[in-house]
Symmetry: C2
Subunit: 562 residues, 2 copies
């Protein structure tokens, strides 16, 4: 909490406001509300699992009861709300800084469950299944991942058979691998947004999302539903993750969220999207804002870790010149070199995330569906992977740079580490995210080159040569802004070289040698992930450079200490 | 426990025995004893802090009561015990695999407290202060680190003033910065080996080690001693770390461990080592075996993490060619490329640690003092840094490669991560360890070049040229063993280039530009740490290559899959 109040103080400076961005007002209001709230005063690492979960739930409910939060939740149900996503991310960041479990639980209830209802449901469904959440009448959970299918979520095997005689869906878990796993809020929530294969007359229409009652407000379970507590995790002790098992659970026909597919009373399926595969992609696209939320959660952890480690490094002294005072440990070259690049990365990620959120807000305001904006989805996937890995590396260095103090729970770094470690694999494993990025890059590449890949490959080498010439020219520029620009050209060059060579490798494997695509892709996987990281580094650096240019004079220099 | 018993099975193979080394017999005996012991059956992550500490203590006492363990502890009191260190490390590894907290607590009681008494004490002192530990009459702790001084331990400020009239030392904590911190076993142990500045008639003789009673067997505190519980850490919940504060605590004159300095009844100080600085180095050298123990603890965690992650990767399937079964995740190129290098590093570290332990055992058997063997100390410091960092990276990849499963406590990876994370900073921060390595390398370099550094630098460039020629020649060798040899030459070359350029940078800063040594060194710190890592990589690869050569045919090939 000390940190939050010191953030308040910092708030007065224009630089801090520049970093907070357009949503600074709601962020300040939230900082203030949290600083005043007793529930956030004590730390939670001394509590039992149950106590910790109860405290997290209380904290969440307290925040959701705040008038401006209620209003924000209601706005989620309206369409075309200007700046809604940017605001949501600002809220996420502040709550995660105060307590990561509360932030993640908010993400489950509002981002995932709320996102599913508001993006996949009809207007009536939104009012029925999400409006009461803003009134705290009930809370929800999001049940997509199964024991057997996490990354390859298209392969889920939970079934939803339509029973025409009762006009119900029968939700069923046919095998152990079909159990819904790691479900957040599973031990407390009342409704679940469950992904299951929609089966009508024995024919599957692919995965769809259903609202399944789990337990009522008194904790009485819905018939056929079993929840199993997953108990202890590395971190996020306040989040109650569990397993859901459905034994022929009956739910009304209206509980299918119908935006991308619905079933008439007499069992006829209709959907605005014809192909099963695009239909599923459209549903997944609804999760894009939540994915960007993860980037913000990781950034909240990084910022906090860096504040703690950098301050400590300025107060702790160790070693020094003979017969003189010991020096501050930040003055040890390695300490400085370990912490500062993370600070630079955190700054760059702030602006890149804001850029992505802006694109998303613009798209939604213009009434575009997110699923059609593949470039945006690739950007968000790349940012998710980059930011969450950067967070793990950053907190590890913060922990090491604060020595034994960094191992003590009271100094927050260990819990930040343990809480945010899961981000690298959940809501899309980072390795899978990187592949999403590269598929998009290759699609762009193919479009650019036309269908004639061979001609494309030849053209490619010529421009590659001119690339390297241009890059060397830039090497002569020596002023400070030039440095950033030079770095930018260098990472762009790396990205283009990797992209072309990957396209050519894949082309020769698939077209010339007739290898199966999955096998060819897998043989290039290291190349794929390297390209994806190169791409996201370039985009991030670009946004950072833009932010530096648009910033006022004084702060400009401070930012440039990269 | 499942893992331990599966290790038992694996034990039958000659390869496993080759990996276990000479101490395979005691390791097997210990595996067997742990598998049979009920105390090790349940996991400890559901316990409260107190329960967890009690369980750890019970586990440790159970193991110390085993006849072969008792015998081993008694051997610690004898001099020139062949293979004692290698055996101790084998014991450490097995106990750490079963439970890291128990292993670390064993390290505190036997390695650190026991090491201090047996290496710094007279024969009578050993019998008085350590023999009872083997009988479990009491346990000890090791109090060196202070709030203000962790890495720079020479600067500790706890005082031990000699009072001639009562023939006592007065142990005192003069300020908050002098509090003994992070002390393991502080809440349960009976005696502490306390490092304090020895002051006689107002004059300091530098840090010495004193046995200070903390509490008796009934928990009654010794007058003037205060302990403060440090409670929750990132991991090692079973280890009771605390703060010790001494308020003019009186201890008899005989409680000064006298090997490197003692005080006569009438207050005359005598020491076999004249310079204060060498005296302190000699005392620190006594800790070298414990430092190597850390490498073994990190390896135990790595091995276990890899066993879990590699097995899971062979059973879990996700994604695959169109219309075919999903493939095992180990077949995804990135999964394989993430895990295998860690496996190779773990194997290489096994042999390098054994090599270092062998050198230490030989030195002790020949009656050499460890403090004079600076090369060995540099090797152990380098191994400590390399292995503990490699462990952090390895477990992070194991965690990520096992997805959500890797975040669940029941799958052990999270607790391995949290327990072993402290190794990178404790008992010598890794950054400091790397500097120890480089000081030794530069000393060797100066000896090699004679006093004429300038001539040395010239000679240096000539041999550098011939180096690169030799290296390119080796590039032509294409057989498999050649690959390993080529890699070895490459890392040796890198090390030599870094070493020469560092020597020349330091020379020009200190000799030519007359910079203060600490400042010059600090300006090169990144170079220093890079050189140290290059050095330890080379030594490790060398030992791995040697082990491959000395191994029998079949396993040879398995090992070579690096």
């Amino acid at each position: 909490m000390m940190l939050l109040s010191s953030m308040d103080r910092r708030q007065s400076s224009s630089f801090a406001r520049y970093l907070d961005g357009e949503s600074w007002e709601i962020k300040d209001a939230l900082r203030d509300a949290i600083a005043k709230c007793e529930l956030f005063e004590s730390s939670s690492y001394e509590l039992t699992l149950d106590q910790s979960r109860d405290l997290t739930a209380e904290r969440l409910y307290h925040l959701l009861r705040l008038p401006f939060m209620k209003e924000h939740l209601r706005n989620q149900l309206k369409e075309k709300q200007k700046g809604f996503i940017n605001k949501s991310l600002g809220i996420t960041e502040i709550i995660c800084s105060a307590d990561m479990s509360t932030g993640v639980k908010l993400g489950v209830v509002c981002g995932l469950y709320g996102g599913a209802v508001s993006n996949l449901g009809s207007p009536e469904q939104k009012i029925k299944w999400y409006l009461p959440v803003s009134e705290l009448e009930f809370t929800g959970m999001f049940a997509m991942t199964e024991r057997g299918h996490g990354s390859n979520v298209r392969g889920i095997i939970t079934e939803a058979r339509y029973n025409q005689s009762t006009q119900e869906f029968i939700i069923h878990t046919p095998s152990e691998d079909a159990q819904k796993m790691y479900i957040g809020n599973a031990m407390k929530g009342n409704y679940a947004a469950v992904f299951a294969q929609l089966i009508i007359n024995g024919e599957s229409q692919g995965p769809h999302c259903f609202i399944v009652p789990i337990r009522d407000q008194n904790g009485v379970m819905w018939p056929g539903v079993t929840t199993i507590d997953m108990k202890h995790k590395e971190g996020l002790h306040g989040v109650d993750n569990g397993i859901l098992i459905f034994n022929n659970v009956r739910i009304p026909r209206e509980n299918l969220l119908g935006k991308f597919g619905s079933v008439s009373a007499d069992g006829l399926y209709s959907s605005p999207v014809l192909s099963k595969s695009s239909r599923f992609n459209a549903m997944l696209a609804a999760l894009t804002p939540t994915r960007l939320g993860l980037t913000v959660q990781a950034m909240a952890a990084m910022k906090l870790g860096l504040v703690i480690a950098v301050r400590y490094s300025h107060s702790r002294r160790q070693f020094g010149p003979k017969d003189q005072d010991e020096v501050k440990i930040i003055e040890h070259q390695t300490q400085y070199l370990r912490l500062m690049p993370h600070l630079a990365a955190a700054l760059a990620l702030i602006f890149t995330t804001r850029y992505a959120a802006g694109l998303m807000d613009d798209a939604l305001c213009q009434g575009q569906d997110l699923q059609s904006n593949r470039a945006l989805q690739a950007l968000v996937a790349g940012l998710k992977a980059y930011s969450t890995w950067e967070n793990v590396a950053c907190l590890q260095d913060c922990r090491e740079c604060t020595g034994g103090m960094g191992f003590m729970m009271e100094n927050r770094i260990p819990s930040l580490k343990c809480d945010s470690d899961v981000f690298v694999t959940f809501e899309g494993d980072n390795m899978v995210m990187l592949q999403v990025v590269v598929r998009e890059l290759l699609t762009q590449y193919t479009k650019l080159m036309g269908n004639n890949l061979v001609m494309g490959l030849i053209r490619n080498w010529t421009s590659s040569v001119s690339d390297s010439l241009r890059t060397s020219f830039l090497g002569f520029s020596v002023d400070k802004v030039g440095d950033l620009m030079f770095l930018l050209k260098a990472v762009s060059f790396r990205e283009r070289v990797l992209q072309r060579s990957l396209a050519s490798r894949l082309y020769s494997k698939v077209e010339k040698n007739k290898e199966e695509f999955f096998m060819a892709w897998n043989a290039c996987l290291h190349h794929v992930t390297t390209l994806a990281m190169a791409h996201i580094h370039r985009v991030t650096l670009e946004q950072f450079a833009l932010a530096v240019r648009e910033c006022h004079i004084k702060e400009d220099r401070a930012l440039l200490t990269k």
